[in-house]
Each structure stands twice: as structure tokens, then as C-alpha cells.
Symmetry: C2
Subunit: 327 residues, 2 copies
DNA sequence: ATGAAAGCGCTAACAG
DNA sequence: CTGTTAGCGCTTTCAT
């Protein structure tokens, strides 16, 4: 068994509470004794037991991070950033994958809730109602969804979609498609609204295709619809869908961007590596991870009364090789 | 504050110890009272506090999962599988990213150690000595590295490398390169040994290039070396490196596979989406995640005395479009 | 089958 | 500045 606070107390000839203070309120203890305690601790390889500490303080110094699918390349940079940022603030993070299943999501939140000071919900599949209910027990920060009374980190994908459609228009496209995402997705709704408005303003036709799975397979399957829709430009729900779509078009002898232009969303790494390199709406995922952690820890510190914060992060269009004038 | 065991005891008119038993040793309590207790618990939304439980039982029901880089697409499927498998066994998992830094890795292990029943070390960058030392406190399972006295999950990349070189040879290549990984990598060492042996047996020349960063950038940077080495076939440390390399070659006017053949390792998704589709040594990452969790929980149950287990998982060669006969 | 009591490792008043 | 005392929520002997 590892050393406990009692071992350290004994070794340094002080009471356990002094040892406790030496760690959690160093200024309250005489420099000389503090050093003695710290030395003994070092010596024994003592590390405070955070679970025990949590029991008295009510702070676990853990946070939960719940995502729909770790394998979706959109998430790892967010997880990585959140986790690194949390660690800098002396927090550990539980990562859980719901496999896109709302029931799993709910179960996970409930079991995690006791072990964490707050949870980060990324692109939740749960209904707003369910989220509000669950949020009574522990602070939440929601990423990519607006939930009443809850701190939120949004990436302004509406603006990105607008830029994307405008880019297509400026290239000369007159009839474009939006290959939408899953029906529960807030992001997909935002894209639809923004694309619709932009198309109307620019006087181009917009056809909406979907819902589709947010994966390469979803894009692959959408290729037929896109061809049938008779469009020359496409905005896809995300890069995975865009890549799958390009592959599907390729299999049907349609080349991107010479025959058809495609724009993705996210700016995942493999979009930069594929040929043609993907024109895409870049999402600030790392920043979102850090911001979410900041908001979460702020509301942990503030207690219940705090007004929920809303952070909206900019998106921007990265023009690469998958868009060109129509032929 | 959420309901505690005491609230449930009061609500159901029994002592707390009975409530405790109703949850953790149901057979020790009368069916009628048990139902009453369970009903009251349900009613109050009571969930046992795992941290408090851990304090008395010594089992946290958490495990730590430490990886070098979450953003490397090799890891997410492993994390996803491990996490899902752990959850089925009623375990939560802390995920931590060391950013390829051994110091961070050590620090992480130490702080996590008190909160977990065991840790999964994936592709560690720490020295074997350090790992053995740290392993005294808590059970470890190491993935992709052999450490004395420790349970291990290995993917037989040596066999994969052999298949890869043989494939190149059978295509007619006579001079091939291995674009190696980081110097601390066990996998890279295995590949080197296997490739060297296979080349010798087949009577072809092998040149070893590296060390290289295990990323697209590493591959991109290796393009010049590869060209200079005058080889016609390449086995890259992983798919990321292979993709970066192909890109670097492309920029220099060299086409894959017509001018040069390239084989990767891992079988990440974007390798299947890129053009040319990558020929690669497929690694059973999901299986590795599950197996690692199984071994870990086994040694948690068994206590210290258990003999470390070794699981070796098969790899195989997936031939796609990035390899062809030399011209 | 259930209750009583002690204690896991730690922190937080409260004294002194 | 440091020691004392009382728990945090739960499990686990030991009685009954």
C-alpha cells in the first residue's frame, strides 16, 4: 500500500492536519516544518489521495468529457486540448464515448456525475429537455448545441456555411446542394438555415439532401442523390462526408473539382492530405476544448448561482483544391 | 446535494448498512426489505458514491489510459474499444495524452495512480526501467512494448513487416527502404529487425532511413531521403508517415505507385480514403484495446502475485493501390 | 437478516 | 502556528 498522510505525519513528527495544510494551504504552516513535512513526503513517495480529499471538500478535481464518437476525427483534437488544459489546472478527465446512442449518453452522465465536478457534453444526441434535467446535479458545458440555462461553446458554423455558399456563388455556381447531417444535429440545422438564407440572397438555387450519417459512408451513399439533383457545387455536413462523397463521385466517373465542387466542414487532417485537398470550413476544435474547460471550471468555482456563459468561436473558409468554377 | 446512503436508509426505515448490502451483496438481505430499499433509492435518485466506496474497498473502478497522442488516428479506435469494454465491466476510464513527452507521461502516471485500479500504457515513451519502477504501485498493462514482469499486449508488427517486404519483393523490387519511426519506439525496432532479416533472406537491399517523427510531417520530410536512397519500394513506420511521404513525393513529381511503391502500417481510415488507397499492414487496434482491458482487470482481481500475461495479436497485409511493380 | 460501530484518507472548524 | 475533534459516504467486521 502506498504511503498515507499518517505515515508522513509520523515520519516528520507532526500531526496529520499539519501535513494536510502543508499541501493544501502551505502559507498556514511554518516554513521549517513545512520543509520537513515535504521532505518526509517526498521520501515516502507520498501523494495525497484525491478520492479521499474529494470526500471532504466536495471537489473531485475530475471532469467528464462525453463525445458521440471518439473515432470521428473531429473529436480527438478537442479531447486532446481539453485534457491538456484541464491538467494544467490540476484536473483529470474521464473520456466516454456514447457511440451516438442517447441512452448510453444518459447512463454515462449519471454514473459519471458523482465522480466529477462537471461534465463537458460535446455534440450531444440527447434532447434539450433531458440535458436540462440531468444538469441539475452537476455543472454542464455543452459544445455545439444551445441549451437553455447552460454554459455553451458554439462554433459559428452558420457563418462558415454562408462563406462556403458565397464562395461557390462567386465561382459561378448557380445551383448547389447541402448534404445535411443527422437529424438531431444542431450544427446541421444551423448550416441549413444559413445556406438557405445565403442562397436566397444570392439568387441561386439550393437543394437540401439528407439526413445522412456523419461519416464517409454517409457521403458515399449521398453521391447518387447529388448527381440526381443536378447541382454543380456541394456543401457537405463535414469533411468525412465530403471525402466519402468525392470517393462516390469518383466511382461514378465524376471528377472533383473539374466536374463538381465540394466543400467540407471541420478541417480534419486527412482533408489536407487527400487529393484533391479539401476546401473546407475550419472549425476551431482545440480552442473549443480549452474554452469549454475554462467555462466549466468557472462554473464549478462559482457554484449554482452563476449565469451561464456563451462563447461563440469563429470559423473560417479554407480554400484548397476541391472547388473550381463550373464547366 | 444528491441523495446519500443515509437518506435512503431513512426513507426505507432501515440502517445504512442494510442499504449498503442491498447494493453490494443483495443475497444477504431479505427480498422484501431489499425491494423496499431499492424502491426508495430509485425514488430519491440515489447512486452509490464510487469515490467513497473506493475509500473502504480499495477499488476505484476506474482505470487510466495513457497514450502518446490522441490526435494520431491510430489511437482513437483503441481508446474507443477500451472505454466501451471497460464500461461493460462497470469501469470508467481516464484518458491522458502525454504529447510524446516521457516526463509528462511519468507525472501523469503518478497523479493518476491513486485514482485508478490499474493503468493501460499505450506505446509508452518512458524507458523500461522507469516503467518497472512506476509499476510497483499499481498494475500496468503495456501495449506495444515488452516490459519485464508486466502484462503486455503486442501486435505482431514484425510479421506484418515481413509480409510487406515480401510483397515488395514479389512485385520485383530489388532495393527497398524502411522509413523508421521515433527512436524510442519498440514497434520501429521490431520492424527494423524483421525487415532486415527478410531482406537478407530474399537477397534484396534494404536501407534504413530515420528516425522520423511518426506523423505526416515526418513522412513529408523523409521524401528527399527516400529519393536520394534510390529505392523503388518503401515500408513506412505508419500510415501517417506513408501518406506524408506520398505527398512529399508528389510535390517532387514522383508518382505512387507508378514510380515508387509505398506501404504503411496501422490501416487508419484515411488511408482507405486517400488516393492512391494505401497498401498497409493492418493493426488490430480495437482488439488490442479490449484485450488490454481484460488483462488489466484480471491482474486487478488477482492481486500482485499473478504472473504477467502476454497477448500477441495478429497483423496482416492489406494490398490496395499504393504498390505496383517497379518500372 | 439486520443493527452498531469502527474506519478508509483526508480536510475543516475550533482551540490553544 | 499546530494539535484536537469531527465528519465526508460508504463498507465491513462483529453482535444480536
Amino acid at each position: 500500500m502506498a504511503a498515507t498522510i499518517r505515515d508522513v505525519a509520523q515520519a516528520s513528527g507532526v500531526h496529520v492536519s499539519t501535513v494536510s495544510r502543508a499541501f493544501s494551504a502551505p502559507h498556514l504552516v511554518n516554513a521549517a516544518t513545512r520543509n520537513r513535512v515535504l521532505a518526509a513526503a517526498e521520501d515516502l513517495g507520498y501523494r495525497p489521495n484525491r478520492a479521499a480529499r474529494a470526500l471532504t471538500t466536495g471537489r473531485t478535481h475530475n471532469i467528464g468529457l462525453i463525445v458521440a464518437d471518439i473515432s470521428n476525427p473531429f473529436f480527438p483534437p478537442l479531447i486532446k486540448a481539453a485534457q491538456a488544459h484541464a491538467r494544467r489546472r490540476d484536473y483529470h478527465v474521464f473520456v466516454a464515448d456514447t457511440d451516438e446512442d442517447p441512452l448510453v449518453e444518459e447512463e454515462l452522465i449519471q454514473t459519471l456525475t458523482k465522480q466529477v465536478d462537471g461534465v463537458l457534453l460535446c455534440s450531444p444526441r440527447l434532447s434539450n429537455r433531458a440535458i436540462e434535467r440531468l444538469g441539475a446535479d452537476v455543472p454542464f458545458v455543452v459544445v455545439n448545441r444551445k441549451v437553455r440555462g447552460m454554459s455553451t461553446v458554439l462554433m459559428d458554423v452558420g457563418h462558415g456555411a454562408r462563406l462556403a455558399v458565397e464562395h461557390l456563388v462567386s465561382l459561378g455556381h448557380r445551383r448547389v446542394a447541402l448534404v445535411a447531417g443527422p437529424s438531431g444535429s444542431w450544427t446541421s440545422g444551423e448550416m441549413r438555415d444559413a445556406a438557405t438564407a445565403t442562397a436566397r440572397e444570392s439568387g441561386v438555387e439550393l437543394v437540401i439532401l439528407g439526413p445522412n450519417a456523419p461519416t464517409e459512408l454517409g457521403g458515399l451513399a449521398a453521391a447518387a442523390d447529388v448527381l440526381q439533383a443536378g447541382v454543380t457545387g456541394v456543401l457537405a455536413y463535414n469533411d468525412l462526408v465530403a471525402i466519402g462523397l468525392i470517393e462516390g463521385l469518383y466511382e461514378r466517373g465524376v471528377r472533383v473539382p473539374s466536374d463538381l465542387s465540394v466543400i467540407g466542414v471541420d478541417d480534419i487532417v486527412s482533408g489536407r492530405l487527400n487529393r484533391p485537398k479539401l476546401t473546407t470550413v475550419a472549425m476551431p476544435t482545440s480552442a473549443a476544448g480549452r474554452t469549454a474547460v475554462d467555462l466549466l471550471l468557472a462554473s464549478v468555482g462559482a457554484g449554482d448561482g452563476a449565469t451561464p456563459a456563451l462563447a461563440t468561436l469563429e470559423t473560417n473558409l479554407v480554400i484548397r483544391e476541391s472547388t473550381a468554377p463550373p464547366t
